[in-house]
Symmetry: C2
Subunit: 212 residues, 2 copies
DNA sequence: TCGACATTTTGATCTACATCAATGTTGTTG
DNA sequence: CAACAACATTGATGTAGATCAAAATGTCGA
């Protein structure tokens, strides 16, 4: 039944999908590309508060308005549903509600971990944590024992994600290259050459912050 | 029926209620006092990721382990329920599940707003935002047109909440006193003398960050 | 009421990162 | 493919807030 109001829509990099304060007409899930949630202060200071990768969900039951700007970081494809019928579905099917609750709690944990990064980590630790986050979702080249990471954003966007400036991002990235931890094969394409050193540089404890 | 497994427990200031990684035996709600959620890095750097004031809820359906340390910031009284029967109740009564979802989403928004503070705000803006947060939950003296705020924590704890050092907290607090924005009537007791100036100093937009 | 300890304030200095300013690279469009 | 715009690097300099170090204040138990 829900199939009938499903629709795909594509956005190009840089496009704002939803503005803060706007009424929320639909919920969606990311099919391809990367989107981000962010908030901008009056004087232009911007902070990203979430990254949305494929399979991530946009929208929240019970909310009629958008709380943060949603921007297409790369070219993006969303699979959208109208909000009203979606909410009816949530109410009618407990295990969907259950699943959404799970997702909200996961996001909450992620947001709180990010608070530690923003409040207490050094520039290098921030960059390392960011690369590790992307590496975890990336392809592994078994032969060369390397992980290729695609940076889905510009230096400026990375800076807004990590609470840094773009110059600091650039410098730290090149410092890690000089240290042999990563190597570039394009401005937005890099390989992790020393996984252990990268983990070490994150400042997180050995188990990766996971509860065992 | 839930009444039967309800129990009150008190903790004294500084006591750790739950350690990260521990199994979660109960859920609870704060009756009196202040608790905090925090995470500490190996080298001791600490970041608070949440403040729990009276009526706030501790625990999350579907989670068996604790994700962040829960510490009694002041003397504290909790109203606790065993987790298992509580979860049964959640599953059986949709509107309780609904309410919990609401709370999770509210916390998520709060966490994201805090990310902006940690990533982009200056020390003074952080302090102002913090005071404004407390002022919103405080008593208003109608006669003097003043708001009395009780700081429920030490300078050091405030610093861990705001991603600062205790010295910076102390200096900024005294700077705001010198500027006539606040006045002290005890180390942990202050009045907001100029509400408009305080709002202004937060760096948030005029409407207080609320969506209208 | 007196220490003894925790907390806060205050001052001096240091430094990581921001800011300002070119210069160098890439990718795109007519 | 030239030439322009967007993005990235690199260097020089500035500064907010950290760090280090006392002193001052408050608090609590004996």
């Amino acid at each position: 039944m829900l199939e009938r109001m499903k629709s795909y829509k594509t956005y190009s990099a840089g496009e704002t999908i939803l503005w803060r304060g706007e009424p929320m007409e639909f919920v969606a899930s990311v099919v391809a590309g990367v989107a981000s949630l962010s908030k901008t202060m009056e004087d232009g200071r911007t902070q990203m508060v979430g990254l949305l990768l494929p399979s991530d969900f946009i929208g929240r039951p019970g909310r009629t308005h958008v709380e943060f700007d949603v921007v297409a970081t790369t070219d993006l494809t969303l699979c959208r549903f109208e909000r009203k019928p979606f909410e009816k579905l949530v109410i009618d099917t407990p295990h969907v509600a259950q699943r959404l609750m799970e997702m909200a709690l996961d996001e909450l944990d992620a947001a709180r971990d990010w608070m530690i990064l923003l409040g207490r980590k050094t520039a290098r630790e921030k960059i390392a944590t960011f690369l590790e986050l992307l590496a975890r979702r990336s392809e592994v080249d078994m032969v060369k024992a390397q992980i290729s990471v695609n940076l889905p954003m510009t230096r400026d966007q990375i800076a807004n994600f990590l609470g840094l400036t773009l110059e600091t991002v650039s410098r730290q990235l090149n410092a890690m290259k000089k240290d042999g931890i990563i190597g570039f094969s394009g401005r937005k394409e890099l390989e992790v050459l020393n996984v252990a050193a990268l983990r070490d540089a994150t400042g997180d404890d050995a188990d990766g912050g996971m509860i065992i």
